[in-house]
């Protein structure tokens, strides 16, 4: 659609104004994270702190458990994403490429349960983790997330688009089924793996519900949990809370800026977040 000049200028203006409005809360968060408590509570609001209080970040990391939580989130997210990609890609490979008795029955059963949402299964899952004595462990944080039904389904769709003649060529050249997986399917599915990786990174990094249930001790808090607890316990320390929030946002924003194209295709693919 070609637009006239005046329309273009006004659209440009609307776009810029909208963007400024959306950035507003971000700017406030960053600014508040660098203010003293008096400045945060001042009226009218102060936008530029007199002296940027970088020590807020040090305090958040050292005294308010954010440093440890950052480490925990990094560990849990990395292990979960790598594990999920491995487990789901192997499963998807079996569904898409390998014929064995019972495969289609398993797949049907799987499709039938895919509609059932997380909050239905979370109560039995919690009781399972609880009776296995796994409350307050990394295992409880990581394990249930490794077997994403959605991820298996998504990768299977990707694998199905790869021509079967490539498999046959590998077999004729003397390769086996694991060679096909490693050297044909995986390299040709980078887009799908990237999409799933980003999707599960976001989900695991940002999630609060499951950590709230299975983690009690401070040493195992993930970032969202640490922030939520700080909100309850240090309710008046706005500047520290904002510093912690910035710390939680930075890794996501960095990954987003680096992998923007894949991010966008992963959202367009999956169409959902949360």
């Amino acid at each position: 659609m070609k637009l006239r000049r005046r329309e273009t200028v006004s659209l440009q203006l609307v776009t810029a104004l909208g963007a400024a409005a959306l950035l507003f809360p971000f700017l406030w968060m960053i600014s508040a994270s660098l203010q003293t408590l008096q400045e945060v509570e001042a009226f009218p609001p102060i936008w530029i702190p007199e002296v940027p209080q970088w020590t807020n970040y040090v305090e958040a990391v050292v005294n308010y458990n954010i440093g440890r939580a950052l480490l925990n989130s990094a560990i849990v997210t990395t292990v979960s994403v790598v594990g999920q990609l491995t487990v789901c890609s192997l499963g998807a490979y079996a569904f898409s490429r390998l014929r064995f008795p019972g495969r289609d029955a398993i797949f049907l059963l799987f499709l039938a349960t895919m509609m059932i949402p997380h909050y239905v299964t979370i109560i039995p899952l919690y009781t399972m983790v609880w009776s296995a004595g796994l409350i307050d462990t990394y295992t409880a944080l990581i394990f249930p997330g490794l077997f994403s039904p959605f991820g298996t389904f998504l990768l299977r769709q990707f694998f199905n688009q790869i021509p079967i003649s490539l498999d046959e060529a590998t077999l004729i050249d003397g390769g086996n089924h694991w060679h096909i997986y490693l050297y044909v399917i995986m390299p040709l599915s980078r887009a799908g793996l990237g999409a799933l990786g980003i999707f599960s990174f976001l989900g695991i990094w940002n999630t609060l519900f499951w950590p709230v249930l299975v983690i009690n001790s401070k040493e195992l808090f993930t970032l969202p949990l640490a922030l939520a607890m700080a909100q309850g316990q240090f309710i008046t320390l706005i500047h520290i809370q904002m510093a912690g929030s910035v710390i939680a946002c930075v890794p996501v924003i960095l990954v987003f800026l680096m992998l923007q194209k894949q991010f966008i295709s992963s959202i367009a693919l999956s169409g959902m977040k949360q």
């Binding site: 963007a19 809360p25 569904f95 399972m128 976001l202 939520a228 977040k273």
Partner: protein, 320 residues
């Protein structure tokens, strides 16, 4: 490698010869690889998906306080929630209001943004990044941020409203404004919808617009007669996904309002959480979870069914 027909043919021959079908060496190798490849996933599926679903069925028909054994009570949980539990109906009311306002408004906003981003504007990529950014950051951080934005005394929102000489509402501290506040906040994250719509817009062939222009259609007519019909499958998809997601709102209410004030933001998932993990009514909470599932399922099905009347699929003759 054998084709599927060859395999079927072989099996048929074996059956005709009165033998049980047996696998050739190659097929057996393939099957073994298949079982190995699927086993980690299958194990996880059975333990973390299938078993919990079956258990959730059973648990919802019990009275279970986790420390003692579950006691079977049939459909009494469902009877209680439907006929005796005012809080359940409050949570349904609050959740439905949230969904009814949030889903359409955010659909219109994200469609408008996607149309903007589809124009040849300067700095389009930068703007797309900015618009999408709020949708990727942790919801907990978003909630922390907005608690202070909504602060009635020194929050930036009410400071802004004061510029016009009016005192703003108490937002999340008022039972009247807490729900609207959470709806407003959710609109900050319209980026997800925008990205989905933008992908849809870019898939509309340019020749349709050219043909419409030759036929004398103006911008508005092209939007109504080309853009909307061609985009309608994406709209349906985005709406259904948004409804499913919005029904599950939890984090914001957990952090910002704790369901209050006066249960004004007691969303259904928060109410499930309370029953299960604060009061340890596992059976009742499971029943609530199934009700939520059925509500979302029925609404999704109604939306899909209604889509026959407004979603246009290319390649189908005569529309509708």
């Amino acid at each position: 490698m054998r084709s599927r027909q060859a395999q079927v043919g072989q099996t048929a021959n074996e059956l005709a010869a009165g033998k049980r079908p047996r696998m050739s060496g190659i097929a057996r190798k393939e099957a073994i690889a298949g079982y190995i490849a699927i086993s980690p996933w299958l194990l996880g599926f059975l333990i973390f998906q299938l078993a919990p679903i079956l258990a959730a069925f059973y648990i919802s028909s019990t009275e279970w306080r986790i420390l003692s054994a579950p006691e079977f009570i049939g459909v009494r949980n469902f009877d209680k929630l439907l006929f005796k539990d005012d809080l359940f109906w409050q949570s349904i009311k609050v959740t439905v209001i949230y969904v009814i306002f949030r889903v359409p408004v955010s659909a219109v906003l994200s469609l408008a943004l996607a149309l903007l981003m589809n124009q040849q504007l300067a700095g389009r990529r930068l703007f797309r990044t900015i618009y999408y950014l709020p949708a990727v950051i942790p919801l907990v951080a978003v909630s922390m941020m907005w608690i202070w934005i909504f602060n009635p005394e020194y929050g930036v929102l009410n400071s802004f409203i004061r510029l016009f000489g009016v005192e703003g509402p108490q937002w999340i501290h008022s039972s009247r404004w807490a729900l609207p506040a959470l709806i407003i906040m959710s609109l900050w994250q319209v980026g997800t919808g925008m990205v989905i719509f933008l992908a849809g817009l870019q898939g509309i062939p340019a020749h349709l617009y050219e043909a419409a222009t030759i036929d004398g259609a103006n911008t508005w007519q092209r939007f109504l007669k080309v853009t909307l019909p061609m985009l309608s499958p994406v709209v349906l998809f985005a709406l259904v996904m948004n409804v499913i997601g919005s029904f599950q709102i939890f984090t914001q209410a957990y952090i910002m309002t704790a369901g209050g004030p006066g249960n004004a933001t007691l969303f259904l998932v928060l109410y499930i959480y309370r029953n299960a993990f604060e009061w340890f009514h596992m059976g009742y909470a499971s029943a609530l979870a199934w009700v939520l599932f059925v509500v979302v399922l029925v609404i999704s099905l109604i939306m899909l069914r209604s889509s026959e009347h407004w979603v246009h699929y290319e390649g189908r003759i005569g529309g509708a």
